[in-house]
Symmetry: C2
Subunit: 275 residues, 2 copies
């Protein structure tokens, strides 16, 4: 009988951003296999309603369950914020999102109990980080800042760029005014701007990358459930990463190749609305 621990992890995002989470899993849990789904036909989620994001997440869950996965990682802040309870209730296996691990680390890191959250409009509106941090430490005050221009800037490739710096200054200003000592990079694209943000905020502010914290939390969860894969994939065995998208498989594969330190062969397009 197959060992469940040898099955892959199912991971999904609205598009390419979740690749930063896949990268952290690859670095921190190198023996794990991943089935990645990016909803490139309906990206972005950050401007959509809870009802729509939950419906999309449920379709993706049903697809991932066809792939014999042992656990699900919601590698998208908006989908984690809106859909984690529904997906956890329906998936029949461990589910982890990026919000909770990010919130845990933010609550631990802050010394003055003032945490800023940069995220999409939907994530900010959901107040998911605020609620998760309050559950961990009710003394922490949180301040949200929706940053809708950042994802397009990252996707345009304008990273260390005067326009992006000006936009970041504008988004960071209200948080710095509130004297936060910790900022959550609450969208999977934002860690790609980390160096520029670090330069703007100085050395004294903790920058929390939920992608990294999620990989650590996933490791702990799989250990607890005895689902951690111990052995590396055998030479010539099934390829450890598989990528599925709802649109533009070629562009996705190119981008994944630029983010991940593995050979991304191809991505496969599937009709996600039929799941």
């Amino acid at each position: 009988m197959d060992n469940i621990a040898d099955e892959p992890i199912g991971l999904f995002d609205s598009g390419i951003g979740g690749l930063t989470v896949a990268r952290e899993i690859l670095r921190n849990l190198p023996h794990e296999q991943i089935v990645y789904f990016g909803d490139t036909a309906r990206v972005p989620y950050g401007s959509k309603t809870r009802e729509t994001v939950v419906r999309y997440a449920e379709q993706i869950m049903r697809f991932l369950l066809t792939q014999n996965i042992k656990a699900i990682v919601i590698a998208c802040n908006t989908a984690s914020a809106y859909a984690i309870d529904d997906i956890s209730a329906q998936a029949g296996r461990p589910v982890i999102g990026v919000v909770e691990p990010g919130a845990v680390m933010a609550a631990q890191a802050t010394e003055n109990k003032r945490v800023g959250i940069m995220a999409t409009a939907a994530t900010i509106e959901s107040r998911s980080y605020d609620k998760a941090i309050a559950r961990i430490d009710p003394a922490v005050q949180t301040f949200g800042q929706a940053c809708p221009i950042l994802v397009p800037l990252v996707e345009e490739g304008w990273i260390d760029d005067p326009v992006t710096i000006e936009v970041l200054k504008r988004y960071l200003h209200p948080l710095l005014e509130k004297d936060v000592d910790t900022i959550v990079l609450g969208c999977t694209h934002y860690p790609l701007l980390r160096k520029v943000i670090r330069r703007l905020v100085g050395d004294k502010i903790h920058l929390i990358n939920p992608a990294y914290e999620t990989a650590q939390a996933l490791k702990k969860l799989l250990e607890e459930k005895k689902l951690l894969r111990e052995k590396p994939a055998e030479e010539g065995a099934r390829y450890p990463y598989r990528f599925f998208v709802s649109d533009n498989a070629e562009r996705f594969a190119d981008f994944a190749q630029s983010i991940l330190p593995v050979d991304v062969r191809t991505a496969t397009k599937i009709p996600i609305e039929h799941y």
Copy 2:
């Protein structure tokens, strides 16, 4: 028997941008009724592939056909660029997109036969404006500039704003270097930036607004087909504008109210992927 000319026009866009086209129709064809569909659950189209945009457009066409429409306006540059042939072949009634009317006016307006096109990545990649202009006047040279940051900036409300001005300068620079005397605002959001663009390019460049040209072309088309509505809606008759969306009906109605000089009562959410 009902007069077909009294039936509404079906108009669709990936989201809210098509409201600039609805506004021009309202101004120029005040007796017409409109059924508007905005695909807010899958917006934007400008970064998606032809195959996906055509599939979405076909679903919307099937929905609009349930509304007894007499003609279809594709009020989205990307959908016009990719899907007009498919929709024209299947709709069984007149179909007009925004690209052709914009191209006709650009070819007429240019004196030095050098036209720049600002649009989404998908519209630029389709080369639809270039091909349409070449059919009208093969002597005209065209220069495309994808402007992916502009839609998010407009939706953030940063119109006459230093960031937007810097982004516009960067996108306009390559076109001005090519010495164009005419620029097509090839995305329905861009006319909202018209004043800022005018200030940056000076008085000598023709700015083409395909939304306006489309309303004029629609008038001509309906006249030719004897489908122009002559009489105003009767007092208390069916409301002349109806709005449907795939997500976030409330936010859509608010935005529509800010764009259109009519009382936008409500928008209705429908499950577009079932059409």
